[in-house]
């Protein structure tokens, strides 16, 4: 994902002389081609993320489209007030890019587990919060946020993720991207970020009669598209590598209940929210190990008998 990101950003920067890239002393063996191609529009600001985001706001006030690149929590949680106040409140054209979403840096421990930022960022007014599901979506999303005026966040996984789409999907703001469609399916998985890849492999292996949608946008979510999907399926699982509180599944539930209360939906589907159970994990482990341990799996879903109550996610 990170390689696709930088290649796409280079292509965008060739067309758009306003694109400027800052990094917080991270991006070794990733960012060098951009720095070589556009030395006057690249800067490693050092290990100082609050300053990086402030600088980005300042550069954007002068007309630059500024990308800030670092790992997980550092350009997000560490600089949350700068993102809220300097960037979002001033509608600055700043794009925060975090590599290592979820447990991508599993063995590196909790400092590097990026499992709260989607929820925190989506509460900030005007913030576009994204987590593309494969390299093709990263390509589409990098181009999209380069051209979308205003504050954006993009969560990347790491490297080597398999492609799910032959071509980069066409993106509209908040748009939902179909990944798998099976005739007669009454259940669907809504996934975001790298969990889309897991879900695609799992459903394929099981030959499950379940559709799959990628939500590259966690905020906003296109409510017309969501309403249409909610009307089509009786069972939906949301799947994210993020704490359950305030995450992607919460965002889906909020929108669904709004649609119901507004009369845009006649009924709600049964929604199983699969997310990290609001807990830290202190042991080392690969991304897959940690996902297993924290229950980020579709095991036992969808229920064989729709009348059987689904297990409550804690």
């Amino acid at each position: 994902m990170r390689t696709t990101f930088i290649q796409t950003l280079i292509a965008q920067a060739q067309q758009d002389p306003s694109i400027f890239l800052l990094c917080g002393d991270l991006g070794y063996s990733v960012l060098e081609p951009f720095a070589a191609a556009f030395p006057e529009r690249f800067l490693n600001v050092g290990i100082a993320e609050q300053n990086m985001v402030g600088l980005a706001a300042g550069l954007s006030l002068e007309g630059y489209t500024v990308f800030c690149y670092s790992i997980g929590n550092f350009p997000t949680l560490r600089a949350m007030e700068q993102i809220r106040y300097d960037v979002a409140y001033h509608d600055a054209n700043v794009k925060i890019i975090a590599v290592g979403g979820g447990y991508a840096y599993g063995p590196l421990s909790t400092s590097h587990h990026t499992t709260e930022e989607l929820g925190m960022l989506r509460t900030i007014p005007g913030m576009v919060v994204t987590a593309p599901g494969d390299p093709a979506e990263v390509e589409a999303m990098t181009a999209f946020i380069s051209q979308h005026r205003g504050p954006c966040y993009m969560r990347l996984n790491k490297a080597g993720e398999p492609r799910l789409h032959a071509q980069p999907p066409a993106l509209t703001l908040g748009g939902i991207v179909p990944v798998r469609a099976v005739d007669g399916a009454t259940a669907a998985v809504f996934a975001t970020g790298d969990m889309v890849g897991y879900a695609a492999r799992e459903l394929e292996q099981r030959a499950a009669r379940v559709d799959l949608y990628s939500f590259p946008f966690v905020n906003p979510i296109d409510t017309a598209q969501l309403a249409a999907l909610a009307a089509r399926y009786s069972d939906i699982a949301t799947l994210e590598e993020h704490q359950a509180n305030a995450g992607f599944g919460s965002a889906v539930l909020e929108r669904l209940h709004d649609l119901l209360s507004e009369g845009a939906l006649a009924r709600l589907p049964a929604v199983r929210r699969i997310a990290i159970p609001n807990a830290f994990i202190s042991s080392a482990g690969s991304q897959d190990f940690l996902r297993d341990r924290m229950g980020l799996r579709l095991d036992g879903w969808p229920p064989l008998n729709p009348d059987t109550p689904t297990r409550v996610q804690t």
């Binding site: 529009r41 100082a48 300053n51 402030g54 600088l55 550069l59 006030l61 002068e62 007309g63």
Partner: protein
């Protein structure tokens, strides 16, 4: 210029006093301490056109002391960015004149109020100016207490490393922060030595002496390749005898008697020191 800026400083203080009295607002002490710095900058030193507050060739001023907003709102009114009567809406329901600085007000570059934000943003603006060889200059005014914020020191390290000689930082060093003196709460001294060690061209001035301020804030005659810091030694509550050096005037708003007494002093005295 100094004659005019002294009078401008007096009008800023009178306006701040009026706003804090009529709207029961706080932070008068810090507004009075910085009034002379603002008067010298807006009284002729800044390249600025109040009719075109976003003109590309303007000097950029970032006012990080968002809590001492009355002084900035007052100087912008006094120099023609908007009608002084608009300040009557200060803190009213629906007014853009919030009691921390609001960028919706003409002439304000950045909303501030959470401390330690403006200097990094201004460094980004100065960096853009350097990359484009722009002729304009970037000024930042910070309070002394907000130098407790680590984000400032990230930018203080950054600016000399990237040779931002188009950036001038003014520290309103009135030596009182919100819960005590800076010496008691978190000592900044030796402040000038810290900036020198970080690679800044470091000047110390009497922050109420307009000639010293004008010389220190000038854009010419600077050390190439270095940002400049002007440590302005000031007095919290400057200009009103019973407010000077008093922590309480970080919070209090003057009652009718205090308002009358303060107003009389401000009208009587020449507060700033002209050349």
């Amino acid at each position: 210029m100094t004659e005019n800026t002294t009078e401008l400083a007096r009008r800023i203080r009178l306006q701040c006093l009026h706003m804090c009295h009529s709207k029961r607002a706080s932070h008068l002490g810090g507004a009075f301490s910085v009034a002379d710095v603002l008067a010298v900058l807006y009284g002729g030193l800044l390249t600025a056109d109040p009719a075109q507050p976003k003109a590309p060739q303007r000097d950029r001023l970032f006012y990080s002391k968002g809590h001492a907003c009355t002084a900035l709102y007052a100087v912008l009114a006094e120099t023609g960015y908007y009608d002084k009567a608009e300040l009557d809406t200060f803190t009213d329901n629906g007014s853009y004149f919030t009691s921390h600085v609001n960028h919706k007000v003409p002439g304000v570059e950045l909303s501030t109020g959470s401390l330690g934000h403006a200097l990094p943003v201004a460094a980004g603006v100065a960096l853009a100016g350097k990359r484009r060889a722009a002729p304009w200059h970037t000024y930042v005014i910070v309070s002394d207490g907000e130098l407790d914020e680590g984000s400032n020191w990230e930018a203080i390290l950054f600016a000399p490393h990237h040779s931002l000689d188009n950036l001038t930082l003014v520290v309103d060093y009135n030596k009182i922060q919100s819960f005590g003196s800076t010496a008691e709460v978190l000592n900044l001294d030796p402040l000038a030595d810290k900036f020198k060690a970080f690679g800044w061209e470091t000047l110390e001035v009497d922050g109420h002496d307009h000639a010293q301020l004008a010389a220190a804030l000038a854009k010419h005659g600077r050390s190439a390749g270095k940002p400049r810091v002007v440590i302005a030694h000031t007095v919290k509550g400057k200009g009103v005898s019973f407010m000077e050096h008093q922590l309480a005037w970080h919070y209090k708003s003057p009652d009718a008697a205090q308002f009358a007494a303060a107003r009389a002093e401000l009208l009587q005295d020449s507060i700033g020191t002209p050349a």
